[in-house]
């Protein structure tokens, strides 16, 4: 509101100037979320190229093991469950934040972060297991494409967790002000976006990779 008092006297002239005031007051908030959305769309294109590479190389086994021999579907199902549940716990964090309940927000964010860590842990275990069996990224075109795609998704989750921890410190220090709500909204978009990408990873890579 202090902004209003500063600009209003000079704006008393016409509707155009008043309009400018609205732009100044509201757009930064919208601008951040829209800008972040555009970043996510560009990230979509990054994943699209990796999916395209997997679509082209996914059956080039070079005499090595195939997806049907390597993939452990129960493990993937558990990983999928971790990510899906972490999506709804993030939703609970957003609902708590909206109700200005700092404790609830922190609790749900913490649970979300732990679920993300479980996801990453299982994925690293899977990677370690594959490399240990001699099915590392350099074994065949299929495995190169697999490790690039799933590894890039895993890196995104890792950065999501780092962001989440940093944001929890911010929340503890500054509470649920407008800035932190904006940051939470962006992280919420990011986290749900990663879950959307995972839908296609488990469908296209794991489930379809097991089919002959």
């Amino acid at each position: 509101m202090s902004n209003t008092n500063a600009t209003f006297p000079s704006a008393s002239g016409g509707a155009a100037a008043v309009r400018e005031y609205h732009v100044r007051e509201h757009h930064p908030e919208q601008g951040t979320l829209l800008g972040f959305w555009i970043y996510l769309m560009s990230d979509c294109l990054l994943f699209a190229s990796l999916f395209a590479a997997y679509a082209v190389l996914g059956r080039n086994y070079a005499g090595g093991p195939s997806g049907a021999e390597l993939f452990d579907l129960p493990l993937v199902a558990i990983n999928t469950a971790f990510l899906l549940v972490s999506s709804i716990t993030f939703g609970f964090a957003m609902i708590a934040a909206q109700a200005k309940k700092l404790g609830g927000t922190m609790l749900w964010l913490g649970i979300t972060g732990l679920l993300g860590l479980c996801f990453l842990g299982l994925e690293l275990y899977e990677f370690y297991h594959l490399i240990h069996e001699g099915a590392g990224p350099s074994r065949s075109g299929f495995l190169t494409a697999f490790f690039s795609l799933v590894g890039t998704h895993g890196l995104h989750v890792l950065f999501g967790i780092v962001w989440l921890v940093v944001l929890m410190f911010q929340l503890a220090k500054h509470g649920l002000g407008a800035e932190n709500m904006r940051r939470l909204s962006c992280l919420s978009l990011f986290w749900h976006f990663l879950d959307v990408v995972w839908i296609f990873v488990f469908t296209f890579v794991y489930l379809m990779g097991v089919l002959p």
């Binding site: 769309m41 294109l45 082209v56 709804i88 939703g91 978009l189 749900h192 839908i199 097991v210």
Partner: protein
């Protein structure tokens, strides 16, 4: 202050004003949305896993069915988790999404199409290599 308030209301019909009225980010996070989305997402995840792990349908049909489920789940996540609608951010979210979908279709269908043809054209020269690979797989089984 009162005149200013009055003026504020005077421009309520302003088209620029319409979508920028919220004080917080324009999304309302509701428990109902998240639980609906979560239940739908669980159903849409469990069915494809069951189809593949239980060998319910024949593989070529399963492939298309699970892709269909992924497509539906994508829409569920967008509506209930990402809170997408045609009006969010004054329609610009949707515009960016549509542009991305266009680029995505071009990148994906283009690479698969081109690479499929290159593979097909390479086949005569690769005959031996393919035979060796087939043999290798056979040995492994």
């Amino acid at each position: 202050m009162s005149s200013q308030h009055h003026d504020h209301h005077g421009h309520h019909g302003d088209p620029l004003h319409g979508h920028t009225h919220g004080d917080a980010p324009g999304v309302h996070y509701s428990l109902k949305d998240y639980t609906t989305g979560f239940i739908l997402a669980v159903i849409l995840t469990v069915i494809p896993f069951w189809l593949v792990m239980g060998n319910v349908l024949d593989p070529s049909t399963t492939k298309y069915v699970i892709l269909g489920f992924a497509g539906v789940q994508l829409i569920v996540h967008m509506v209930y988790f990402l809170h997408m609608n045609s009006k969010s951010e004054g329609g610009w979210n949707m515009m960016a999404l549509l542009l991305t979908i266009v680029l995505l279709v071009i990148v994906l269908s283009g690479s698969i199409w081109v690479m499929h043809h290159m593979n097909a054209n390479m086949m005569p020269g690769m005959g031996d290599a393919a035979a060796v690979t087939g043999h290798g797989n056979h040995d492994m089984q």
